[in-house]
Symmetry: C2
Subunit: 202 residues, 2 copies
């Protein structure tokens, strides 16, 4: 290898640390998991707005910007679901190395699939947030009519109906949304992560 | 669809414009294309350092952080090369929507493959930069010994040897690197993009 190529990558690219310093934050992935209709995306969006208004630099990754883009060639087979989460985790990792705070919002129903994400991202950067909303509440909301379709058998392998959801055993935070406003749920999450993400700019 | 879901995405997520305003830049993808050994990555790294030092917020996407991560399950078949570029373009698009300046560094040898990238990213956000280094110069450097391997027939489909490189017909900028220092090449690129990316913070 020629001399100009022996410098390790942290010398050649702007470091994560310099980026975090510029943005005044410690980059992390807030990995929201929960049933369809549990309120993950609404909480993610509220948290993004709140963090940005407070001077931080977050980015939500969700079905809208991932499933329609980088994962638009994946279906819902077991292999494709795993590849879906793998790519999301790899994108989240890129963002963390860019110094950003990622708020991801995907059902990610099994412990195995969340372990896969944590392994890719790195355990130290992965904060698991369990948006804990009872199935009957999610089903009664049924914003997109998916539960009704699943009950009619028109959707196969729907989480909570004919496919299992495995709750996290030791999440960084569990948000019990029953009786909680969106604002209160966002505030709870914000308060929990603030000591971790805050980094005084030097 | 329930009332809480009828707001378009730009109401729910922090807008690209608010992000660009915070970072003091207009987000774009600087898509560097050129032969292996042309100096793309060295120029990309130098530009990233220079932009960051000047207060901008760029991110290089290259083989090191893409091929080892999100694209680590792709080979070198024609289909896989296309999927490689598709995913890179989708990641670049996510970054642009996050307000960042992307500097991508991939051979991307054909007009078709670069068109695919431009279509995904959006023509208005895609700046094609042709790192124009003659094949004999690239081959004489041969930093990774790839040209020698290709000449010996140990690497098949190597761009410039037994696979075509189609130069851009109307790039945003062509950098003729012959006789140019890395610093001068970076300066040339920096000067060309500055009027486009600069955005006074409000």
């Amino acid at each position: 290898m020629a001399p100009e190529n022996i410098h390790p990558i942290f010398d050649r690219l702007v470091s994560r640390s310099a980026r975090e310093d510029r943005l005044g934050q410690h980059a992390r992935v807030l990995w929201l998991t929960g049933l369809s209709g549990s309120g993950k995306s609404t909480i993610a969006e509220g948290l993004e707005q709140k963090l940005f208004a407070a001077g931080y630099f977050p980015q939500v990754l969700d079905g809208d910007n991932i499933r329609m883009g980088i994962n638009n060639n994946l279906g819902f087979s077991l292999a494709d679901r795993e590849e879906n989460i793998r790519r999301i985790a790899e994108v989240a990792k890129l963002y963390v190395n860019s110094g950003l705070l990622v708020i991801s919002s995907f059902i990610s129903p099994t412990r195995d699939i969340r372990s896969l994400a944590a392994d890719i991202i790195g355990a130290g950067d992965f904060l698991e947030i369990f948006v804990d909303t009872p199935l009957d509440v999610c089903e009664s909301r049924d914003v997109k009519g998916l539960y009704a379709k699943a009950r009619r058998g028109e959707l196969k392998g729907f989480t909570g109906i004919d496919s299992p959801y495995e709750p996290p055993t030791a999440p960084f935070l569990r948000i019990a949304t029953a009786g909680l406003s969106v604002e209160a749920a966002v505030d709870q999450l914000y308060a929990a992560i603030l000591p971790i993400i805050h980094r005084p700019t030097s």
